[in-house]
């Protein structure tokens, strides 16, 4: 903590500090990543998937993303399941996600807006 000597410095600190409260504002306009964390999801490795997603977001310094969990939706054999919901776009559900896939989902879908078709839920 140092003295803020100019308006420019104040602006800089504000931009950095925004991350502190970002999670509490404008959440309806952010991309949502939802990880299935029912008993089935957890035993299939959802916890590691979640950690990988959080780590990737931190590394990439993403601010317009929220990560939440959800319970079992009944497709336990496809767990871990991860939904990506971009604002004003339909939900995309990925199946059998592992930490490596999770990182790629963040990189390719969340950041670069490209749906990874081969991992998306099959039409059953």
């Amino acid at each position: 903590m140092g003295v803020i000597k100019s308006i420019e410095e104040l602006e800089k600190i504000r931009d950095q500090a925004r991350e502190l409260i970002n999670l509490r504002k404008d959440n309806e306009n952010k991309t949502r990543i939802v990880v299935g964390m029912g008993t089935c999801g957890i035993s299939a490795g959802a916890r590691e998937v979640l950690m990988a997603i959080l780590d990737e977001i931190k590394k990439r310094n993403l601010t317009d993303v929220v990560v939440t969990e959800t319970g079992c939706i009944g497709m336990c054999r496809f767990e871990p399941l991860v939904d990506v919901i971009k604002p004003n776009q339909p939900k995309v559900t990925y199946v059998n996600v592992n930490p490596e896939k999770a990182r790629q989902i963040v990189a390719r879908h969340v950041v670069n807006n490209q749906v990874i078709d081969e991992w998306v839920i099959p039409n059953i």
């Binding site: 903590m1 308006i7 999670l23 509490r24 959440n27 964390m37 950690m51 939440t68 969990e69």
Partner: protein, 597 residues
């Protein structure tokens, strides 16, 4: 910086702290640590959310889920279900009284939907003990803006154009006050923040100081720049220990960051702020008494003029504004006067914070646009009157205000409409009364308060309010005489015209307004020796309706003085000589056979 996927905000205002939010917060920290979630989930404290009735209140982001009445035992379940598995703990959600389903997010519930939070914008959103959180939400940008882009006169013009009026009681135009202080000759000037919140039941200033202390510091620095002052004082009650603590932290952090002190933001502007603690005398909310108290003298008012803007603290020109007034300043500077003036009504701009209490379901703190009707506040936001009782009146403006009856419920809330109705905006206390409230008794209650708080300097207030109180006591004891009402009116008029300060000048208001709308209740007390609401003990008696009484004997058992007798399965009777009117028998009777008359 760590990326936290969830924030758990625990309300640590005075209300929720009193209902036990501190151990709840510790339980969250422990449980999250135990589950190894410390790097993903952050627990932090925040200021008042307003629904103090339902505390301890918790909000979990990013969902914005609002849990109320959370106990330490509930914490493991919330962590397991919500934070690990993503399942909302339905049983702890807020339940709207009118709807079946429970509301998930704070923003969905009626109590919040109708509010517009400007002064309270950061309360319940940021951690008040971390200056960066305030800066993150545009904090100190308004100060930066005035120091670099505006002249002092432009700042005052902006405040004047916004139409902001004092939120502490009188409703004096804020811009005009700033102009007077700027125009007053003198090199040394002061800015003072009036945090001596004294109205019974009002706690908006405390909540702002606790939940967003930096906004007051920033606004005072802006005012200092505008009027040419280098020092500011915050006068806050010593019985607000949490507000004092948060202010101390905030001042310390602002100094460390160079946002208070010398050469702020490299602009050459110097400004610093000091705390002064008051000892809780109501009269010290009056500006001249407050100044005397800061100077270390006895808290007594003096005649005005000279007004503090000309001759204030230590004889120097001084600007005094209330906490809530200051809290509106940074948003006005950032968003512009037009934005602020577009909210509210023609003569009352912006929003006002009200502390709703009394016979109402959702007691708490709300900020509404001016012009909202009393009905909307009491029924839509406040959730109506408990136990199916009928609304009788609402008291606004605290001991200086008056009672507004049911006929005026659709009146929009503005400075002038409230004054015309015989009440006032005051600092924003709002006490709701139902059919069981006696209006003479209420007038007596408020007059007891002002009489007690009268500083005794001027005779109209010292002696006049005492005489009025004696008459009210006489009336409620069933000893009212012909002519008492007229005598009350004469005394009230004289005190209003001749008392030295606002305390005395407004002290008769509760009596005058109840006389205006509920004169028949006074008359019933005096002429018929009856209290229509059944509240004044000396004027009521208890009776058993023989037809309804089944002779079960429960009332006789519960009566502490043995005043009820009768044979089993036969109607009982109350001995009025022995009866002490404790109400126990009415509460016990399963058949509603006992009545007050």
């Amino acid at each position: 910086m760590e990326f936290y996927r969830a924030h758990v905000l625990v309300c640590r205002g005075t209300g929720c702290t009193a209902s036990g939010s501190e151990p709840v917060m510790e339980a969250f920290e422990k449980e999250i640590e135990k589950r190894g979630l410390s790097k993903e989930v952050k627990v932090l404290l925040t200021g008042c959310l307003g629904l103090c009735e339902l505390g301890p209140n918790i909000i979990i982001y990013p969902e914005g889920t609002y849990y109320c009445k959370v106990k330490v035992e509930d914490v493991p379940e919330i962590v397991e279900e919500h934070l690990v598995k993503g399942r909302i703990v339905e049983r702890l959600l807020y339940k709207e009284r009118t709807a079946e389903e429970r509301m998930r997010a704070l923003t969905d519930i009626n109590f919040y939907k109708r509010q517009k939070r400007i002064a309270l914008r950061n309360c319940g959103l940021i951690n008040p003990e971390v200056i960066e959180e305030y800066i993150a939400n545009d904090g100190y940008r308004a100060l930066a803006k005035v120091l670099t882009e505006m002249t002092p006169q432009q700042v005052i013009d902006e405040v004047t154009k916004s139409g902001l009026r004092g939120r502490g009681g009188g409703g004096f135009p804020t811009g005009k006050k700033w102009q007077f202080a700027k125009d007053a000759p003198g090199d040394v000037k002061y800015v003072v923040c009036n945090g001596d919140e004294g109205d019974p039941g009002a706690f908006m200033d405390r909540s702002i100081l606790e939940g967003d202390p930096h906004t007051v510091l920033e606004a005072m620095a802006i005012a200092g720049y505008a009027i040419g002052a280098k020092e500011g004082y915050i006068y806050v009650r010593a019985e607000y220990p949490l507000a004092v603590k948060r202010l101390e932290i905030a001042i310390e952090q602002a100094r460390e960051r160079g946002l208070l002190g010398k050469n702020i933001l490299g602009t050459g502007f110097d400004f610093d702020i000091f705390l002064r603690l008051g000892s809780g005398a109501f009269v010290c909310g009056e500006e001249t008494a407050l100044l005397a108290s800061i100077e270390g003298r006895r808290g007594e008012p003096r005649p005005r003029p000279p007004f503090p803007a000309v001759e204030g603290l230590w004889g120097k020109p001084t600007l005094i504004n209330n906490v809530e007034t200051f809290a509106n300043i940074p948003p006005i500077i950032l968003n512009g006067a037009e934005w602020f003036a577009s909210i509210g009504t023609e003569r009352s701009k912006g929003t006002k914070v009200f502390a709703i209490g009394g016979k109402i379901n959702n007691t708490g703190l709300v900020e509404i646009p001016m012009g909202t009707t009393l009905r909307e506040v009491i029924y839509d936001i406040g959730g109506g009157i408990p136990n199916g009782k009928k609304f009788k009146a609402v008291q606004t403006g605290g001991p200086s205000g008056g009672c507004i009856p049911a006929e005026l419920l659709d009146m929009p809330i503005e400075y002038d409409t409230l004054t015309q109705a015989g009440s006032m905006m005051g600092s924003g206390g709002m006490i709701v009364m139902d059919e069981d409230t006696c209006m003479v008794d209420i007038a007596k209650f408020f007059l007891t308060f002002t009489q007690d708080e009268s500083c005794g300097k001027c005779p109209p207030c010292r002696i006049g309010t005492k005489r009025m109180l004696e008459i009210l006591e006489r009336i409620t004891n069933g000893e009212g005489r012909e002519g008492d009402i007229e005598l009350l009116e004469t005394l009230a008029r004289n005190i209003k015209a001749s008392a030295l300060c606002g305390l005395g000048q407004t002290a008769p208001n509760p009596v005058l307004s109840t006389l205006r709308y509920f004169r028949h209740e006074y008359e019933a007390h005096i002429k018929e020796k009856k209290c229509p609401a059944g509240a004044c003990r000396a004027l009521i008696s208890y009776e058993i309706i023989a037809e309804k009484c089944k002779g079960c004997g429960l009332c006789a058992k519960v009566c502490p003085v043995g005043a009820i007798s009768g044979e089993r399965r036969q109607p009982h009777v109350i001995d009025k000589e022995k009866c002490i009117k404790c109400n126990s028998c009415i509460e016990r009777c399963p058949f509603g056979a006992i009545v007050k008359k």
